[in-house]
């Protein structure tokens, strides 16, 4: 048990701490400027491990449904960004390529509107990269996670708390629940307003 834990965590804790300190080097004003001049990379989930587990357990129908449902979600996310987000350029990658993105190895990582890897897609400037993750978001204030959208730095670490880089889905309250377009419009507006406060 201890070995499992150690293997999982010890090697990665340093990455967190190093990444956290990196994220804290820039001020919120510097981050928002870098974001405006940079590229936002949207991490699209694939659930490949869950699907594989279902297949191994002989639950092919459930696996197929999960795959289709995730594809529909990813289409909705991509369409929403395309239609409503203009704060900065956006590119998309699959979650299983996260390590490559973290290492800034952008060769054959980005996907086109047909959800195929497109080698022609790339970032112009690798120094101002931010990650957008849609799904579970951790709220330090509450000490727990909720559904929503979050922007992380290029090492997948949280940005300073005072930045408006988290939008909650409000999943628990049907009346106030936000759709993907709602959340992305809100995020775009928050970023624009925050940028305008400084520049």
């Amino acid at each position: 048990m201890k070995t499992h834990f150690t293997n999982l965590i010890v090697s990665v804790l340093l990455l967190i701490f190093s990444g956290t300190s990196y994220a804290q080097i820039k001020s919120p004003a510097e981050h928002i400027k870098a974001m405006k001049n940079g590229t936002l990379l949207v991490r699209l989930h694939t659930k490949e491990n869950s699907i594989l587990m279902m297949e191994v357990q002989g639950q092919q129908e459930r696996a197929d449904k999960t795959f289709k449902k995730q594809l529909e979600k990813n289409k909705a996310i991509m369409t929403s960004f395309k239609n409503t987000f203009d704060f900065a350029p956006v590119l998309y990658f699959f979650s299983y390529d996260s390590e490559k993105v973290k290492n800034k190895n952008f060769n054959e990582v980005f996907i086109n509107e047909d959800f195929k890897i497109d080698p022609n897609l790339n970032v112009k400037d690798t120094s101002n990269i931010y990650i957008i993750d849609v799904g579970e978001v951790y709220f330090r204030r509450f000490g727990s996670h909720m559904k929503g959208i979050v922007i992380l730095d290029d090492q997948f670490n949280p940005l300073p708390d005072e930045m408006p880089v988290i939008v909650r889905k409000r999943d628990a309250i049907a009346l106030f629940r936000r759709s993907y377009p709602d959340m992305i419009v809100e995020l775009n507006q928050n970023l624009t307003e925050f940028y305008n406060e400084y520049y």
């Binding site: 999982l8 990665v12 804790l13 990455l15 587990m53 299983y96 996260s98 509450f142 000490g143």
Partner: protein, 78 residues
């Protein structure tokens, strides 16, 4: 439990490392989550699939155990 949520990630990590007992793991979205029992409560260590990196550690309750049912294989022999 209330105290645990106030700790930083590194403090939570130290506590789980020193006093935690691994229970099970599961996938949720693009997260790989590891459940530990620490003294009289449960904690989950959330990691992003494809990244060897802890995102956060949070306390949880027994309701979450159902989420791990799919990942437990009982080997019963009579």
């Amino acid at each position: 439990m209330a105290k645990f949520s106030k700790l930083s990630t590194s403090e939570k990590y130290k506590l789980v490392k020193n006093k935690g007992h691994y229970v099970a793991s599961r996938y949720h979205g693009s997260f790989h989550i590891h459940l530990y029992r620490v003294e009289d409560f449960l904690t989950e260590v959330w990691t992003r699939v494809g990244l060897n990196q802890i995102c956060w550690i949070e306390e949880t309750d027994h309701k979450v155990l159902d989420s791990y049912a799919d990942h437990v294989k009982l080997n019963i022999s009579f």
